[in-house]
Symmetry: C2
Subunit: 255 residues, 2 copies
């Protein structure tokens, strides 16, 4: 039997999702596999939907693994796991699936959200979970650019190349900023069949940087359209990476 | 000259606002007065708008103090202070006022917000800043009760008595819950000329507890109206205190 667990975590105190063999660092995968091993009495190998970087959070990460014993009812699996997890990681759901189900390969849609807020000063209660911008950006202009990302493209300009990555082509199904005026909070929502390494942070960093350049009357890359930047497949055109603290793996869809 | 500084802080790692003489604990006032003393070269005594408890946060706390040297322009005062403050406290504004202006006695309105969210499980990124409820409450019923708090009342039922407090009467000008459906977030906003010790947490704890009792078909105090509870002036009628982590001193108004 394969179990699919949905996870939420605060990435602040983790060196990313993936176990780094030989490194003495705290990772989400390490904490999950330790909890599973303590339930099972032997090591349990897991797969995840998205290998989030250091400092990146999750509201809907998914992890799959084979399971035989002890027998735990589906409804109680999340609670059993949570009893062995630290408070910065929670299993929020568990589902029993057919053998061979894989959190990464079976996923058909992934949704990320990136949170920003505008303030002259850092706000202490937001410092772990959002990126501060000094000025309120013009959303209509940023959304006109974000819309150019939608579709099937080679995202080499907006991603770091990861060893073993065979294709840089992905299909983005939605990409837009939403404002919550009262709190001066912005949210960037992006959905795709899959994401490349650092793709969301590259996109957010570039769109925010272009807006800042326009405001300050600088031309830089903002003279080139996003469509043209995509076509160039040139990573050097990409802006500064947005910081990890604003990024959440929001949810993953399975057939 | 008197300076009025607006502060934001994450109360998680503080033993409340107020300095506790003889206790070796970290307080917001302690951190502020240390920063001011290091700028001024001698101790600086401060007054604050609201003495928040351990674990309570602020987006708009205000602190006033006399200042003569060194001379720092009004526009640069917050930055000068921030350069000597830890990241969980920020000065977000500074204003030069007339001598004798007092952050506490000059305040005419105070606004608090209490954040709640509904989820079967604790969400790691909310664990410092909100109270989790297992079920979605019925806001219309809770708001019908909250409305009974508005007006000038003796709040003995909904507050702890603090030494030196001469009157338990306050005027609440607004009290209501607001929902953000997408995130399953609730926000309780309450405004008054002043607040008694633990008044907001007493009110939120009581209103949430009564809603839970109604849902479970328990009668308990929910047979008595909020108006009657107020009239009884009986602290023992009050529900369990809501935890401090959801509470923010949101803003303070001055004439």
């Amino acid at each position: 039997m394969t179990v699919l667990v949905r996870l939420a975590y605060d990435g602040t105190d983790f060196a990313g999702y993936q176990i780094q063999r030989g490194q003495n660092v705290r990772t989400v995968q390490g904490v999950i596999e330790k909890a599973l091993a303590s339930l099972h009495g032997a090591p349990v190998a897991t797969a995840c939907a998205g290998r989030t970087d250091t400092g990146v959070h999750a509201l809907g990460q998914y992890v799959s693994f084979d399971w035989d014993h002890p027998r735990i009812p589906e409804q109680q699996f999340a609670a059993a796991l949570n009893s062995r997890l630290p408070p910065d990681v929670r299993a929020t759901n568990a589902r029993f699936t057919a053998d061979g189900f894989h959190a990464r390969y079976s996923a058909c849609q992934r949704h990320y959200r990136y949170y920003l807020y505008t303030s002259q000063w850092d706000l202490p209660h937001r410092r772990r979970y959002a990126w501060r911008l000094p000025d309120v950006p013009e959303l209509s202009r940023m959304n006109a650019e974000a819309a150019q990302l939608v579709g099937t493209h080679d995202f080499s300009t907006f991603a770091a190349r990861r060893r073993g990555e065979d294709s840089m082509t992905r299909t983005v199904t939605a990409a837009a900023f939403y404002a919550d005026n009262d709190e001066q909070t912005l949210e960037f929502r992006i959905s795709a069949d899959g994401f490349l390494w650092r793709m969301v942070r590259s996109i957010v960093g570039t769109l925010v940087g272009r807006e800042r350049d326009r405001r300050r009357g600088r031309k830089s890359t903002s003279a080139m359209s996003i469509t043209e930047m995509l076509e160039r497949r040139d990573r050097s055109l990409c802006g500064t990476l947005a910081p990890p603290r604003g990024l959440f793996l929001y949810d993953v869809e399975y057939p």
